[in-house]
């Protein structure tokens, strides 16, 4: 193809990603977004103006070489695009699927000012998937340093940190409490958004290339304490990427009835344990005919969309799934794309609605939920307008399952006998934002365990920064404690 002028590039519309039709996909757990073909990817890549000062890169928490990989892609050098990508991003097939590009790289794209930004996320996914199939650019280790690092938690923060440390020549052992690595990528994010073959594929490939050892079934805080890892087990450094795995429940009457469950439990049953394939897999998962998901973050959208699919799998006729949210559409914390997909699939949104009591029947199963209407007042400390109950507006919702998706906190189990490790009143680890250094010597932390529940990519960014600092420490360049 002849070189296009910028004017011509601006004429090309943003390419749409082929997706499963909403009515079809709400009955299966297959991936919703089907990915670009090579042709679509190259067409989209032609839209990039190759800015001299690319702002997109500034928007990326791990600093992916965006113009470089896009240029290689449109020149037909896909191997080169993979190499450029993997300079900074070790897990592109995952990031391409779950990063909120619309608020990061794509928000900074110069094209976004006048029209639609380059679909960087979709291109990233294309490159990631290509590499996952072909393995053209294996990660390489530099000279082994003989230093050993324990990475606690195998979610986005831990994985990224482990892979970077592995590339830098350190011996890495990842301790994972569950039986499979991936953290929230395997227990939380559903198959239809992030297929587990992609997660497993990325992890296995990276671990194999870099000789990273994986220790599943290892609950740090019980099996080993942080002190034991540092002293008895003789790790030179410990990185904590244990996430925010503790669920929150509303403090209202009735939360312990059957069929009131945390989004964590529901999603873990569905995703990690493959409950949607029961009885082929042993773990059952129930779904109500009328499900209320409380909250409106990404986890709430995932729970609602899993509920729809289970309803379709379990029954001939589908039921109803509601998102019950105490604020208005403006404050919804989920990604726009997730909300859009949920709406398309038929999730019903009840805004400015807050549950006040859950009712149970004689068998202690949920049989209804009392709610109150809300209105928005002055902004609160989060900067969002505070929801205020409207007196006398209570009403009953006919529901038989309630899923609480109200945010999560760090699990304190890992901090058993970890003297000197300071935490905030929210239970998060006190760590330097730039380096990930915790207050305890030879301990770093990053991701949700430091920030509270946030995004996959911000956790990856934190894992990356910590890996760089751990490397400096292990090479004796710094000794901060």
């Amino acid at each position: 193809m002849a070189e296009l002028s910028n004017r011509e590039r601006l004429q090309i519309p943003r390419q749409t990603m082929p997706t499963q039709e909403p009515l079809a996909r709400r009955t299966n757990f297959d991936e919703v977004a089907l990915g670009f073909t090579l042709e679509l990817a190259q067409q989209e890549a032609e839209r990039c103006l190759q800015c001299a000062k690319p702002h997109c890169v500034e928007g990326c928490p791990v600093g992916v070489l965006i113009p470089e990989f896009i240029l290689a892609l449109r020149q037909g050098d896909i191997d080169g695009a993979v190499r450029a990508m993997k300079e900074k991003n070790n897990l592109p097939a995952i990031c391409g699927r779950v990063c909120p590009q619309e608020t990061q790289c794509e928000a900074k794209c110069v094209l976004a000012k006048k029209g639609e930004p380059v679909a960087i996320g979709r291109l990233e996914r294309f490159v990631g998937d290509y590499e996952l199939e072909r393995h053209v650019c294996p990660l390489e280790r530099t000279t082994p340093t003989g230093k050993q690092v324990a990475v606690v938690g195998s979610g986005p923060a831990g994985l990224t940190c482990a892979v970077d440390l592995g590339r830098l020549g350190h011996e890495v052992m990842i301790f994972e409490s569950l039986h499979k690595p991936g953290g929230v990528l395997v227990y939380g994010i559903p198959e239809f958004r992030l297929p587990k073959r992609v997660v497993n594929g990325e992890i296995d490939y990276a671990a194999e290339c870099l000789g990273i050892k994986m220790h599943p079934d290892a609950v740090i805080g019980r099996l080993y304490t942080i002190d034991e890892l540092l002293n008895e087990q003789e790790f030179d450094a410990v990185f904590l990427g244990t996430g925010a795995g503790l669920p929150s429940f509303l403090r209202i009457p009735g939360i312990n009835y059957n069929a009131v469950l945390s989004a964590n439990e529901f999603l873990t049953r569905v995703n990690l344990m493959k409950g949607y394939l029961f009885p082929e897999y042993d773990t059952p998962v129930k779904v109500g005919q009328r499900v209320a998901v409380i909250g409106a973050g990404n986890v709430a959208m995932d729970s609602a969309r899993c509920s729809l699919r289970l309803q379709a799998l379990h029954a001939q006729e589908t039921g109803e799934v509601h998102i019950v949210y105490r604020r208005s559409p403006v404050e919804v914390p989920a990604r726009a794309e997730e909300v859009h997909h949920a709406e398309e699939e038929g999730v019903i949104f009840d805004f400015l609605t807050n549950p006040v009591e859950i009712y149970g029947d004689e068998s202690d199963n949920v049989c209804g939920m009392r709610c109150i209407r809300m209105e928005l007042g002055e902004p609160d400390e989060s900067g969002r307008r505070r929801p205020i109950p409207i007196e006398g507006s209570e009403f009953d919702m006919d529901v038989d399952m309630v899923i609480m998706a109200l945010g999560t906190r760090p699990n304190p189990l890992v901090f058993n006998e970890a003297g000197g490790l300071e935490r905030t009143k929210w239970g998060t680890v006190v760590a330097d934002e730039e380096t990930g250094r915790a207050t305890k010597a030879r301990v770093w932390a990053g991701g949700d365990v430091v920030t509270g529940a946030a995004t996959v990519i911000s956790a990856m960014g934190a894992g990356k920064r910590a890996a760089a600092d751990i490397d400096r420490f292990l090479r004796g360049e710094i000794n901060p404690w």
């Binding site: 409490s177 569950l178 039986h179 227990y187 599943p216 079934d217 290892a218 609950v219 019980r222 099996l223 080993y224 795995g245 503790l246 669920p247 429940f249 939360i255 312990n256 059957n258 069929a259 469950l261 945390s262 964590n264 439990e265 873990t268 049953r269 990690l272 344990m273 493959k274 029961f278 009885p279 082929e280 897999y281 042993d282 773990t283 059952p284 129930k286 068998s363 202690d364 199963n365 699990n411 304190p412 189990l413």
Partner: protein, 281 residues
């Protein structure tokens, strides 16, 4: 993978397995539990530690074949491997010299009360033990319990061995006989037995500890499926327990929560039995 080093049949439906798990064995203490998953498609179930050997690097589990997973587990033999064996989890039993204590073990939980009674004995307590089961066939470890008990009462529901009684009968008598002398009671068994033990000891004001075995997935506080209602709020069995003050537990809610997946459990068992029959044919 975690190898089964030894298997014993304690009754037709009760099996003991010694598992090679050196890391877990380092830390395991009486009262803690392990999450077990039989194979790649298996569910995660909690099983309380029946024994451990730090030198040999083993942890012993005892289970009754009541559902698909435990039936499947029961078919495994020495040399086979388990996909998951995570732990020890939960808090260990609070072992102290309390004075005179009663240890009640019902059914499979005789295996759980044994290491607790042993540890309490070693700490200097006088141990009065009651073990019970539906019938003689389901009883085991009378001899082991004898070695750690100053007094041992054995009963069966149907009278096929020992005294014909539910464990609550001798429990009540002991509390009456030793009025004011019993410092604590441990009662471990099926939820319904623990509920009635709690009811029995309550009028005597004797602190009673139970070990709850609820539905759970991760065992680390992540899912909240194991939550129980205590008088001072909801707790997670996996991280706050598994032992709790029996007089604080909302037993009816606990029993209702245990029944939530009854239909699926039945379906899984039928499917498993059908599969086993096909295997035999």
């Amino acid at each position: 993978m975690y190898k089964i080093l030894h298997k014993e049949t304690l009754s037709d439906v009760t099996k003991l397995m010694v598992i090679a798990a050196p890391e877990a064995a380092r830390k395991a203490q009486a009262g803690q539990f392990i999450i077990v998953r039989v194979d790649e498609r298996g569910e995660r179930i909690p099983l309380t530690v029946a024994d451990h050997d730090r030198e040999a690097g083993t942890v012993t589990i005892v289970f009754q074949e009541v559902g698909k997973t435990t039936m499947h587990l029961g078919t495994l033999e020495q040399g086979d491997e388990l996909a998951t064996f995570t732990g020890p989890l939960g808090h260990p039993t609070e072992i102290e010299d309390y004075g005179t204590v009663i240890c009640v073990g019902g059914g499979t939980s005789i295996a759980i009360i044994f290491p607790i009674a042993r540890a309490l004995k070693e700490a200097g307590n006088t141990i009065i033990s009651i073990i019970g089961a539906r019938n003689k066939e389901l009883l085991f470890w009378e001899d082991k319990m004898q070695t750690v008990s100053d007094e041992l009462i054995v009963c069966t529901d149907d009278g096929s061995y020992g005294r014909k009684a539910l464990v609550t009968e001798p429990l009540k008598e002991l509390l009456e006989q030793h009025d004011g002398e019993i410092s604590r009671v441990w009662a471990i068994g099926p939820a319904i037995m623990m509920k009635f033990c709690a009811k029995t000891t309550r009028p005597f004001g004797v602190k009673t500890i139970v070990s709850l075995n609820t539905i759970m997935i991760d065992g680390t506080g992540m899912c909240g499926g194991c939550r129980v209602q205590l008088t001072d709020g909801a707790k997670f069995v996996c991280v706050d327990g598994p032992e709790f003050d029996a007089h604080q537990v909302d037993w009816d809610l606990l029993l209702a929560r245990q029944r939530f997946y009854l239909e699926e459990e039945k379906q899984a068992v039928e499917r498993w039995q059908h599969k086993c029959q096909l295997g035999v044919d």
